[in-house]
């Protein structure tokens, strides 16, 4: 299992409680378009991810993240520099 896959699985787990439409999550899944999350859901989800990985994803970074794959890459990068 690669680093990316391992992070992806943990991210997917965190997405589940917020995945109201029950869509299949892949690297290409978008938060706004596919999951249809509003800013409040995003806030709760980001807090959950931050606690899961013990990292901080600033709002500046969040503005650049559109897909699950991009989030996984960001987490990988943050963990590498931690």
């Amino acid at each position: 299992m690669t680093n990316h896959d391992e992070i992806f699985e943990r991210v997917a787990e965190q997405i589940e409680p917020f995945n109201k439409k029950g869509i299949d999550v892949s690297n290409a899944t978008t938060f706004a378009g596919d999951l249809e999350w509003d800013s409040l859901t995003v806030m709760d989800f980001v807090a959950a991810i931050e606690d899961e990985f013990d990292i901080l994803i600033t709002m500046n970074m969040q503005a650049e993240i559109e897909t699950v794959g991009q989030l996984v890459d960001t987490i990988a990068k943050l963990r590498a520099t931690a």
Partner: protein, 421 residues
């Protein structure tokens, strides 16, 4: 992923031919335009285009020819019609003219601006006070200037739009924590680089639900991690604390808050914003803060009314007591009628009635207006957690009789639209 801004409401052009074709920059607002049209098609009044044709007192205005009790103005201390305040404004208008036509750092600082800052220093017991043209600009300017590139701003998720906008105007990294959660704040501060500059931004009273912040606990956590603290007391000034300075005074945090931001458009009863501080280098902001420099200063009449009002608020203990009495009575009365209120007890002069959806909220809002009562309608994205609120803010000038009338109107309107039994 931005949020927390009020949406513009204006006449619809949704069905007219699109003037700019595929490149119409306004086309992204079509869903909002349609939502509003659908709402108005049900026959309700537009909650965002009320006009007051006559204002008789801080608590009474004429709306569509009808005397209406005002319960959504943030005019907490009722200073708008105070005879001394009005007289000071008239005198300044006569002596200094209608406006300054200039920036504070060029030709826009008059005697009155200096006196207004002196009044603030005395009111807050601080070394420095800087007056801005609005409260929005005070947050915009102070936050964006204090926290620069490489610094971190840590803010409550339910922060006011002016705080968010202040963050975006600057170059700092922005981190937010769950509303009023001391543990969440502690965790996030703990994950930041130790050597980085940090500004924690808090509010004394959060204006949507009217709840107050656990400031002593939050201040302790912020200090532990070496952060400076800014506290916005827009809704706390005037009636919290022995001197009316705000929630931070009431809760004993005066020595630990580095910057207090406030506004003249609530308890003070006019318009304008400010920041007060004891930091020895605070005055440098006048030279580097863009929202302070690149705009015209407040008109002489406005700073004169503000200074007079601030000085009177220092000795407004009786008014504060009456405002608390009004707030507690309305909170309990609405609960007794069967309404759901955002806070368990009256924590401030804001009492927020929670409604399940937009239809219920607008329906009750309109029934109240027809009954002669104006309250604020608040909806997402301005509200937390997607809630629909009828926000009531009390005034020290509401008489006991008026509070009784308000409760009677809420009883009749709620039953008429089926919100309460």
């Amino acid at each position: 992923m931005p949020d927390a801004i009020d949406t513009p409401e204006d006449t619809s052009l949704a069905d007219l031919p699109n003037p700019a074709g595929a490149h119409d920059l306004l086309s992204k607002f079509k869903p909002l335009i349609r939502e509003r049209e659908d709402l108005l098609a049900t026959g309700v009044r537009d909650p965002f285009s009320i006009v007051m044709t006559e204002v008789k007192s801080p608590t009474l205005a004429v709306i569509q020819g009808k005397d209406t009790i005002l319960l959504g103005t943030y005019n907490y201390m009722g200073m708008t019609f105070d005879p001394d305040v009005v007289a000071a404004g008239k005198k300044a208008l006569d002596e200094f003219g209608a406006g300054t036509t200039g920036s504070r750092v060029l030709n826009g600082t008059y005697q009155g601006h200096r006196e207004c800052e002196d009044a603030l220093k005395e009111f807050y017991g601080t070394k420095s006070a800087i007056v801005f043209s609005t409260g929005y600009q005070a947050n915009l300017g102070v936050i964006s200037t204090l926290a620069g590139k490489g610094d971190y701003i840590i803010l409550d998720a339910d922060s006011h739009a002016s705080i968010y906008d202040g963050c975006w105007l600057g170059n700092a990294e922005i981190v937010r924590f769950r509303h009023n959660s001391v543990e969440d704040l502690d965790k996030r501060l703990g994950r930041l680089p130790k050597e980085a500059g940090k500004l924690v931004v808090l509010e004394g009273v959060y204006s949507m639900f009217g709840d107050i912040a656990p400031l002593p606990e939050m201040v302790a956590v912020a200090k532990k991690h070496g952060a400076m603290i800014l506290c916005d007391e827009a809704h706390g000034m005037g009636f919290f604390g022995p001197n009316g300075r705000g929630v931070y005074e009431e809760l004993g945090c005066e020595d630990d808050i580095d910057f207090v931001v406030g506004t003249f458009s609530k308890s003070v009863g006019t318009v304008g914003g400010f920041c007060v501080s004891n930091h020895p280098d605070f005055e440098v902001l006048r030279l580097v803060c863009r929202p302070y420099i690149f705009t015209a200063s407040l008109p002489p009449s406005v700073v004169a009314t503000a200074a007079t009002s601030i000085r009177k608020l220092m000795h407004a203990g009786d008014k504060r007591a009456h405002l608390w009495k009004n707030s507690k009575r309305l909170h309990q009365g609405l609960r007794d009628l069967g309404y759901t209120i955002a806070t368990e007890t009256a924590q401030s002069a804001i009492i927020a009635v929670m409604l399940p959806d937009q239809e219920a909220a607008v329906g009750l809002w309109q029934a109240l207006l027809e009954g002669g009562l104006y309250v604020n309608l608040a909806r997402p994205p301005a509200t937390p957690a997607g809630t629909y609120l009828l926000r009531c803010s009390l005034c020290a000038e509401h008489s006991d009789e008026q509070v009784g009338q308000i409760l009677a109107i809420f009883a009749a309107a709620g039953r008429a639209v089926g919100c309460i039994a």
